[in-house]
């Protein structure tokens, strides 16, 4: 079971993971609600990701899966309910949201690299400003992570000069450079040309095999099938069904899941 994997990511500072407790879920959402005006996107949803688990969230567009992901690090303010990050309530008004966020890596559909900074500076700015690392330490961590995603030669390039796939891999390396305890992926390959999807998925697969806790909102059913420990199917702001990929994707129990899978295949 991946949940029992103890291997920390290669070369990561063990001290950064000292507070990780495997018995507490990495992510726990309770009765989570989110409305935009009259539109109720999440309707009292319960959701959990165990430490070391890879969870893929699938579902039709508008089902609330991206909103769920964005509520977890409070990029979106939940209307109700709670979100616990390794047992700490990030929805608590007194919570140190910035500190909690720095432990949650996030990868966006549109990459969101900082266009005015070189790739290296994209990877070091938060390490230095948030983690307080020295320049040499931050540079070293950044270079190691760029190598990990196969972009060692793009250190000095600017984002505009990278392909979409390279930009997304750089964005993953940027998130990894904070030594996060978990990673959130918001449709990471949806904005990519088809021939560039593979290189990003390969990096994500490596990451999963290294034991990273991952929550992935995706339309890539092949990836979900190969890599996920658990697949969650969402519709209309609720979890419709969840379980191992073979079950949810192979023999779905619910009519809505079956209808959705028929449409995407």
């Amino acid at each position: 079971m991946r949940a029992d994997a103890t291997a920390a990511p290669d070369g990561a500072d063990p001290a950064d993971h000292g507070h990780r407790d495997r018995s507490v879920p990495a992510i726990e959402a309770r009765e989570l609600r989110k409305s935009f005006g009259d539109l109720e996107v999440l309707r009292g949803l319960d959701f959990e990701v165990a430490a070391g688990e890879v969870v893929c969230v699938v579902g039709p567009s508008g089902s609330g899966k991206s909103t769920l992901l964005r509520c977890i690090n409070r990029l979106e303010e939940p209307t109700g309910g709670r979100v616990l990050i390794e047992g700490e309530d990030i929805t608590d008004p007194d919570a140190d949201v910035d500190l909690l966020r720095s432990r949650i890596g996030m990868v966006f559909q549109s990459f969101n690299l900082f266009p005015h900074l070189s790739v290296l500076r994209n990877l070091t700015i938060a390490q230095r400003r948030v983690r307080g690392r020295s320049k040499s330490e931050a540079d070293e961590v950044a270079r190691r992570n760029l190598e990990r995603v196969g972009l060692a030669d793009k250190v000095d390039a600017y984002p505009a000069h990278l392909s979409g796939g390279q930009q997304q891999r750089a964005a993953i390396a940027r998130a990894l450079s904070m030594d996060p305890d978990m990673m959130l992926f918001d449709e990471p390959t949806s904005a990519l040309d088809p021939e560039l999807v593979g290189e990003v998925l390969a990096v994500m697969k490596d990451l999963a095999n290294e034991g990273m806790t991952m929550m992935v909102v995706t339309h890539e059913m092949g990836f979900a099938n190969d890599v996920a420990d658990r697949v969650v199917f969402m519709d209309e702001g609720m979890v419709v069904e969840q379980g191992p990929p073979s079950q949810v994707l192979g023999s779905p129990q619910h009519e809505r899941t079956r209808r959705f899978l028929k449409l995407v295949h």
Partner: protein
């Protein structure tokens, strides 16, 4: 024989050049050059204005512009951040300020500050009336620059803020390290505009009254206008304004091209 596409294009271009030359030629031919050059370009008078018109007047104009732009930029940044603040009273203050000082003629604001501040606070800004006038210019420039910067800040994609916040950066750090550098790139062209307008608005400082040593370009040449009873000094001032603005805008354009290379 029908013309090819290429030939037709060449003919059209030729006609456009022809019209241009005809208009320019007609104007040159129609104008009465002798009195014009006598009055406006009396080289003897022009010669007498140098070097003071450069060492005092043009220099003052540049100094006032730099002061007004520099402090106006700081004030504008403060106002732009206030206008985007989540705290409502800050937004109100910024909005009221901007609406008032964009609405008032700059001339009036300069008069207000040149004579109002010393009366109200018994304090004279350094540089006498000209200094007080510059304060007025700063106040006006701040209002315009604030709106330009606000638009620039809002033009930075929301995903940039989200990426920075997701890395654990605070709102302030995100603004300083991620949003403002990108916003400033976006607003370089409109800011250049502000700078050029401001340079010419220094000519309004004449109403604040000034001594010989603190006079800016237009005020200075207006004085010469009376001394020599000739409009030539105004022409000299005009040429000097252009001589300042063109290198300035070209320099900004160069900086812009250089930055674009990384984007």
């Amino acid at each position: 024989m029908p013309m090819t596409r290429r030939q037709r294009q060449r003919t059209q271009r030729g006609v456009l050049y022809g019209i241009f030359l005809a208009v320019v030629g007609t104007l040159i031919w129609l104008a009465n050059w002798e009195p014009l050059s006598d009055q406006f370009l009396d080289l003897d008078i022009a010669r007498q204005m140098f070097p003071e018109v450069v060492t005092i007047a043009a220099r003052n104009t540049v100094v006032y512009t730099a002061l007004a732009f520099g402090f106006g930029l700081l004030l504008g940044l403060l106002l732009a951040l206030m206008k985007l603040s989540p705290v409502a009273p800050y937004r109100w203050v910024a909005t009221i300020y901007i609406e008032i000082f964009r609405g008032l003629p700059a001339l009036l604001t300069i008069l207000l500050f040149a004579f109002g501040i010393p009366l109200a606070f018994g304090w004279r800004p350094p540089g006498g009336p000209a200094g007080a006038g510059v304060v007025g210019l700063i106040v006006v420039a701040g209002a315009y620059i604030a709106e330009t910067l606000r638009a620039g800040i809002q033009a930075v994609p929301k995903g940039q803020v989200e990426a920075a916040r997701s890395l654990g950066m605070s709102p302030g750090r995100t603004m300083i390290s991620i949003v403002l550098p990108q916003a400033f790139r976006i607003v370089i062209p409109p800011l250049t505009n502000e700078l050029v307008l401001l340079l010419k608005d220094t000519s309004l400082l004449a109403v604040a009254g000034a001594t010989v040593a603190t006079r800016e370009l237009l005020g200075y040449s207006r004085q010469d206008l009376f001394t020599f009873s000739s409009p030539t000094p105004l022409m000299v001032a005009g040429l000097l304004y252009v001589a300042i603005t063109i290198p300035m805008t070209q320099l900004v354009a160069l900086l812009e091209r250089r930055q674009r290379r990384s984007l």
